[in-house]
Protein backbone atom coordinates (compact mmCIF):
# COMPACT_ATOMS: atom_id res chain seq x y z
CA UNK A 1 0.00 0.00 0.00
CA UNK A 2 1.72 3.22 -1.11
CA UNK A 3 -1.20 5.38 0.02
CA UNK A 4 -1.51 6.37 3.67
CA UNK A 5 -4.36 4.61 5.43
CA UNK A 6 -7.20 6.47 7.16
CA UNK A 7 -9.80 4.69 9.29
CA UNK A 8 -13.27 6.20 9.77
CA UNK A 9 -15.79 4.56 12.09
CA UNK A 10 -19.52 4.85 11.40
CA UNK A 11 -18.95 5.64 7.74
CA UNK A 12 -22.07 4.21 6.09
CA UNK A 13 -24.00 7.49 6.12
CA UNK A 14 -24.22 11.04 7.43
CA UNK A 15 -21.13 12.83 8.68
CA UNK A 16 -19.01 9.64 8.64
CA UNK A 17 -19.68 9.04 4.97
CA UNK A 18 -18.87 12.65 4.08
CA UNK A 19 -15.59 12.36 6.00
CA UNK A 20 -14.66 9.06 4.32
CA UNK A 21 -15.36 10.49 0.86
CA UNK A 22 -13.41 13.63 1.60
CA UNK A 23 -10.34 11.78 2.92
CA UNK A 24 -10.45 9.55 -0.16
CA UNK A 25 -10.36 12.71 -2.30
CA UNK A 26 -7.42 13.91 -0.23
CA UNK A 27 -5.49 10.83 -1.37
CA UNK A 28 -5.88 8.46 1.58
CA UNK A 29 -6.82 4.82 1.27
CA UNK A 30 -9.92 4.95 3.46
CA UNK A 31 -11.28 2.13 5.56
CA UNK A 32 -14.85 2.91 6.57
CA UNK A 33 -16.64 0.81 9.17
CA UNK A 34 -20.30 0.01 9.70
CA UNK A 35 -22.15 -2.25 12.11
CA UNK A 36 -23.71 -4.44 9.40
CA UNK A 37 -22.48 -6.31 6.32
CA UNK A 38 -24.84 -4.25 4.19
CA UNK A 39 -23.37 -1.05 5.57
CA UNK A 40 -19.83 -2.29 4.91
CA UNK A 41 -20.77 -3.26 1.33
CA UNK A 42 -22.26 0.16 0.65
CA UNK A 43 -19.05 1.80 1.92
CA UNK A 44 -16.95 -0.39 -0.39
CA UNK A 45 -19.29 0.61 -3.21
CA UNK A 46 -19.05 4.38 -2.74
CA UNK A 47 -15.30 4.36 -2.02
CA UNK A 48 -14.50 2.16 -5.01
CA UNK A 49 -10.74 1.77 -5.52
CA UNK A 50 -10.05 4.46 -2.90
CA UNK A 51 -10.98 2.33 0.07
CA UNK A 52 -12.92 -0.46 1.63
CA UNK A 53 -15.85 -0.99 3.97
CA UNK A 54 -15.49 -3.34 6.95
CA UNK A 55 -17.97 -4.58 9.53
CA UNK A 56 -17.07 -3.37 13.03
CA UNK A 57 -18.96 -3.04 16.30
CA UNK A 58 -17.05 -0.32 18.17
CA UNK A 59 -18.77 -1.34 21.42
CA UNK A 60 -17.24 -4.82 21.23
CA UNK A 61 -13.53 -5.23 22.12
CA UNK A 62 -13.29 -8.59 20.29
CA UNK A 63 -14.67 -7.05 17.12
CA UNK A 64 -12.12 -4.21 17.39
CA UNK A 65 -9.21 -6.64 17.92
CA UNK A 66 -10.27 -8.77 14.95
CA UNK A 67 -10.81 -5.87 12.55
CA UNK A 68 -7.60 -4.09 13.58
CA UNK A 69 -5.63 -7.28 12.99
CA UNK A 70 -7.03 -7.71 9.52
CA UNK A 71 -6.40 -4.03 8.70
CA UNK A 72 -2.79 -4.18 9.91
CA UNK A 73 -2.10 -7.51 8.16
CA UNK A 74 -3.88 -6.93 4.87
CA UNK A 75 -3.94 -3.17 4.29
CA UNK A 76 -1.51 -1.32 6.52
CA UNK A 77 -1.48 0.54 9.84
CA UNK A 78 -3.78 3.60 9.78
CA UNK A 79 -2.07 6.91 10.42
CA UNK A 80 -5.40 8.74 10.57
CA UNK A 81 -8.25 7.59 12.82
CA UNK A 82 -11.59 9.37 12.84
CA UNK A 83 -13.73 8.30 15.78
CA UNK A 84 -17.11 9.13 14.34
CA UNK A 85 -19.40 6.20 15.20
CA UNK A 86 -22.11 7.22 17.61
CA UNK A 87 -25.69 6.61 18.65
CA UNK A 88 -28.38 8.39 20.65
CA UNK A 89 -30.69 7.01 23.36
CA UNK A 90 -32.48 10.20 24.41
CA UNK A 91 -34.56 10.30 27.57
CA UNK A 92 -35.21 12.60 30.48
CA UNK A 93 -32.78 11.82 33.25
CA UNK A 94 -35.65 10.91 35.59
CA UNK A 95 -36.67 8.21 33.15
CA UNK A 96 -33.27 7.19 31.83
CA UNK A 97 -32.52 3.50 32.30
CA UNK A 98 -29.06 2.21 33.18
CA UNK A 99 -29.08 0.47 29.84
CA UNK A 100 -29.63 3.74 27.97
CA UNK A 101 -26.76 5.31 29.85
CA UNK A 102 -24.41 2.33 29.39
CA UNK A 103 -25.13 1.93 25.67
CA UNK A 104 -24.19 5.53 25.01
CA UNK A 105 -21.05 5.51 27.13
CA UNK A 106 -19.89 2.23 25.56
CA UNK A 107 -20.59 3.09 21.95
CA UNK A 108 -19.74 6.80 22.00
CA UNK A 109 -16.93 7.10 24.55
CA UNK A 110 -15.36 3.75 25.51
CA UNK A 111 -15.04 3.03 21.79
CA UNK A 112 -12.86 6.13 21.41
CA UNK A 113 -10.50 4.83 24.09
CA UNK A 114 -10.35 1.35 22.55
CA UNK A 115 -9.94 2.46 18.95
CA UNK A 116 -7.33 5.06 19.81
CA UNK A 117 -5.34 2.55 21.82
CA UNK A 118 -5.57 0.05 18.98
CA UNK A 119 -4.09 2.39 16.35
CA UNK A 120 -1.45 3.92 18.60
CA UNK A 121 1.17 1.22 18.16
CA UNK A 122 1.26 1.75 14.40
CA UNK A 123 1.32 5.53 14.80
CA UNK A 124 4.16 5.38 17.33
CA UNK A 125 6.17 3.23 14.94
CA UNK A 126 5.42 5.58 12.06
CA UNK A 127 6.28 8.54 14.34
CA UNK A 128 3.23 10.31 12.97
CA UNK A 129 -0.51 10.06 13.44
CA UNK A 130 -3.75 11.99 13.56
CA UNK A 131 -6.70 11.06 15.72
CA UNK A 132 -9.85 13.11 15.22
CA UNK A 133 -12.88 12.63 17.45
CA UNK A 134 -16.30 13.71 16.30
CA UNK A 135 -18.01 15.12 19.38
CA UNK A 136 -21.02 17.45 19.45
CA UNK A 137 -21.99 20.97 20.44
CA UNK A 138 -24.19 19.25 23.02
CA UNK A 139 -21.02 18.15 24.84
CA UNK A 140 -20.31 21.84 25.53
CA UNK A 141 -23.82 23.24 25.97
CA UNK A 142 -25.75 20.29 27.41
CA UNK A 143 -29.19 19.40 26.14
CA UNK A 144 -32.33 18.36 28.00
CA UNK A 145 -33.03 14.70 27.27
CA UNK A 146 -29.43 13.97 26.31
CA UNK A 147 -27.54 13.71 29.62
CA UNK A 148 -25.97 10.44 28.48
CA UNK A 149 -25.04 11.69 25.00
CA UNK A 150 -23.71 15.02 26.29
CA UNK A 151 -21.62 13.29 28.96
CA UNK A 152 -20.04 10.97 26.38
CA UNK A 153 -19.40 13.81 23.94
CA UNK A 154 -17.83 16.02 26.63
CA UNK A 155 -15.77 13.01 27.75
CA UNK A 156 -14.17 12.80 24.31
CA UNK A 157 -12.76 16.30 24.74
CA UNK A 158 -11.01 15.53 28.04
CA UNK A 159 -9.76 12.27 26.62
CA UNK A 160 -8.27 14.04 23.60
CA UNK A 161 -6.51 16.64 25.74
CA UNK A 162 -4.93 13.96 27.94
CA UNK A 163 -3.85 11.85 25.01
CA UNK A 164 -2.45 14.92 23.26
CA UNK A 165 -0.12 15.40 26.23
CA UNK A 166 0.88 11.73 26.30
CA UNK A 167 1.80 11.22 22.67
CA UNK A 168 2.66 14.70 21.41
CA UNK A 169 6.37 13.91 21.62
CA UNK A 170 5.81 11.20 19.00
CA UNK A 171 4.34 13.64 16.50
CA UNK A 172 0.84 12.28 17.03
CA UNK A 173 -1.96 14.81 17.36
CA UNK A 174 -5.46 14.26 18.69
CA UNK A 175 -8.23 16.77 18.22
CA UNK A 176 -11.98 17.02 18.51
CA UNK A 177 -14.52 18.43 16.09
CA UNK A 178 -17.84 19.48 17.63
CA UNK A 179 -20.56 19.77 15.00
CA UNK A 180 -23.68 21.78 15.73
CA UNK A 181 -26.91 20.74 14.05
CA UNK A 182 -26.04 19.03 10.79
CA UNK A 183 -28.51 17.85 8.20
CA UNK A 184 -28.29 14.05 8.65
CA UNK A 185 -30.58 11.13 9.45
CA UNK A 186 -29.87 11.76 13.14
CA UNK A 187 -31.30 15.30 13.01
CA UNK A 188 -34.12 14.34 10.60
CA UNK A 189 -35.71 12.62 13.60
CA UNK A 190 -36.23 15.99 15.31
CA UNK A 191 -39.74 17.49 15.23
CA UNK A 192 -40.41 20.65 13.17
CA UNK A 193 -41.04 22.62 16.37
CA UNK A 194 -37.64 21.73 17.76
CA UNK A 195 -36.01 22.40 14.39
CA UNK A 196 -37.54 25.89 14.15
CA UNK A 197 -36.47 26.78 17.68
CA UNK A 198 -33.00 25.54 16.84
CA UNK A 199 -32.76 27.56 13.64
CA UNK A 200 -33.67 30.75 15.50
CA UNK A 201 -30.63 30.17 17.75
CA UNK A 202 -28.19 29.71 14.84
CA UNK A 203 -26.74 32.99 13.52
CA UNK A 204 -26.17 31.42 10.10
CA UNK A 205 -29.86 30.32 10.25
CA UNK A 206 -29.48 26.96 8.58
CA UNK A 207 -28.43 23.43 9.45
CA UNK A 208 -24.85 22.55 8.64
CA UNK A 209 -23.90 20.15 5.88
CA UNK A 210 -22.03 16.92 6.54
CA UNK A 211 -19.45 18.08 3.97
CA UNK A 212 -18.70 21.10 6.15
CA UNK A 213 -17.68 18.80 8.99
CA UNK A 214 -15.69 16.69 6.54
CA UNK A 215 -13.70 19.77 5.44
CA UNK A 216 -12.70 20.47 9.02
CA UNK A 217 -11.61 16.87 9.53
CA UNK A 218 -9.70 17.00 6.25
CA UNK A 219 -7.84 20.07 7.50
CA UNK A 220 -6.98 18.44 10.83
CA UNK A 221 -5.66 15.38 8.98
CA UNK A 222 -3.54 17.53 6.65
CA UNK A 223 0.07 18.62 7.07
CA UNK A 224 -1.14 22.18 7.58
CA UNK A 225 -2.64 21.21 10.94
CA UNK A 226 0.55 19.64 12.30
CA UNK A 227 0.83 22.12 15.20
CA UNK A 228 -2.77 21.77 16.41
CA UNK A 229 -3.37 19.22 19.15
CA UNK A 230 -5.76 18.82 22.07
CA UNK A 231 -8.04 21.35 20.39
CA UNK A 232 -11.81 21.23 20.04
CA UNK A 233 -13.05 22.92 16.88
CA UNK A 234 -16.69 23.99 16.88
CA UNK A 235 -18.48 23.88 13.52
CA UNK A 236 -21.97 25.06 14.38
CA UNK A 237 -23.00 28.16 12.42
CA UNK A 238 -22.42 30.30 15.50
CA UNK A 239 -25.04 28.64 17.71
CA UNK A 240 -22.46 28.23 20.45
CA UNK A 241 -19.29 30.29 20.80
CA UNK A 242 -17.04 29.12 23.62
Amino acid sequence: MDKQVALVTGASRGIGRAIAERLAQDGFFVIGTATTDNGADSISAYLGEHGKGLKLDVANPDSIAEVMKSINDEIGAPIVLVNNAGITRDNLLMRMKDEEWDDIINTNLTSVFRMSKAVLRGMMKAKTGRIINISSVVGSTGNAGQANYAAAKAGMVGFAKSMAKEVGSRNITINTVSPGFIDTDMTKELSDDIKNTLLSSIPLSRLGKAEEIAHTVSFLASNGAAYITGENIHVNGGMFMP
Binding site: R121, M124, K125, E166, V167, S169, R170
Partner: protein, 76 residues
Protein backbone atom coordinates in the same frame (compact mmCIF):
# COMPACT_ATOMS: atom_id res chain seq x y z
CA UNK B 1 22.60 -16.13 25.97
CA UNK B 2 25.25 -13.57 25.08
CA UNK B 3 23.55 -13.28 21.72
CA UNK B 4 20.27 -12.35 23.41
CA UNK B 5 22.10 -9.89 25.63
CA UNK B 6 23.64 -8.22 22.58
CA UNK B 7 20.33 -8.02 20.75
CA UNK B 8 18.54 -6.55 23.77
CA UNK B 9 21.28 -3.96 24.27
CA UNK B 10 21.22 -3.04 20.59
CA UNK B 11 17.47 -2.37 20.76
CA UNK B 12 17.82 -0.37 23.98
CA UNK B 13 20.56 1.70 22.36
CA UNK B 14 18.45 2.35 19.26
CA UNK B 15 15.23 3.14 21.08
CA UNK B 16 16.71 5.36 23.75
CA UNK B 17 19.46 6.87 21.61
CA UNK B 18 22.23 5.73 23.96
CA UNK B 19 25.69 5.93 22.39
CA UNK B 20 27.87 4.65 25.27
CA UNK B 21 28.20 1.01 26.34
CA UNK B 22 25.09 -0.12 28.19
CA UNK B 23 25.53 -1.78 31.58
CA UNK B 24 23.47 -4.91 32.10
CA UNK B 25 22.07 -3.59 35.37
CA UNK B 26 21.14 -0.20 33.88
CA UNK B 27 17.64 1.08 34.62
CA UNK B 28 15.85 2.50 31.58
CA UNK B 29 14.45 5.48 33.44
CA UNK B 30 17.09 6.22 36.09
CA UNK B 31 20.27 5.47 34.14
CA UNK B 32 19.35 5.75 30.47
CA UNK B 33 17.01 8.76 30.60
CA UNK B 34 13.89 7.03 29.29
CA UNK B 35 10.44 8.50 29.97
CA UNK B 36 7.40 6.31 30.55
CA UNK B 37 6.40 6.37 26.89
CA UNK B 38 9.94 5.36 25.87
CA UNK B 39 9.61 2.23 28.00
CA UNK B 40 6.34 1.36 26.24
CA UNK B 41 8.05 1.75 22.86
CA UNK B 42 10.99 -0.28 24.07
CA UNK B 43 8.71 -3.18 24.93
CA UNK B 44 7.09 -2.88 21.49
CA UNK B 45 10.52 -3.09 19.89
CA UNK B 46 11.48 -6.12 22.01
CA UNK B 47 8.23 -7.85 21.00
CA UNK B 48 9.11 -7.36 17.36
CA UNK B 49 12.74 -8.39 17.64
CA UNK B 50 11.95 -11.59 19.54
CA UNK B 51 8.59 -12.25 17.90
CA UNK B 52 6.67 -12.58 21.12
CA UNK B 53 3.85 -10.76 22.86
CA UNK B 54 4.62 -9.28 26.25
CA UNK B 55 1.43 -8.79 28.31
CA UNK B 56 0.96 -5.37 29.93
CA UNK B 57 1.37 -6.61 33.49
CA UNK B 58 4.66 -8.31 32.58
CA UNK B 59 5.83 -5.32 30.57
CA UNK B 60 5.46 -3.07 33.60
CA UNK B 61 7.97 -5.20 35.49
CA UNK B 62 10.67 -4.79 32.86
CA UNK B 63 12.55 -1.71 34.04
CA UNK B 64 16.21 -2.69 33.57
CA UNK B 65 18.31 -4.22 30.80
CA UNK B 66 18.80 -7.35 32.90
CA UNK B 67 15.04 -7.77 33.42
CA UNK B 68 14.50 -7.49 29.66
CA UNK B 69 17.15 -10.15 29.02
CA UNK B 70 15.66 -12.42 31.69
CA UNK B 71 12.19 -12.05 30.21
CA UNK B 72 13.37 -12.92 26.72
CA UNK B 73 15.44 -15.90 27.92
CA UNK B 74 12.44 -17.28 29.78
CA UNK B 75 9.69 -16.55 27.26
CA UNK B 76 10.91 -16.09 23.71
Amino acid sequence: MSNIEERVKKIVAEQLGVKEDIATDASFVDDLGADSLDTVELVMALEEEFECEIPDDEAEKITTVQQAIDYVVKNA
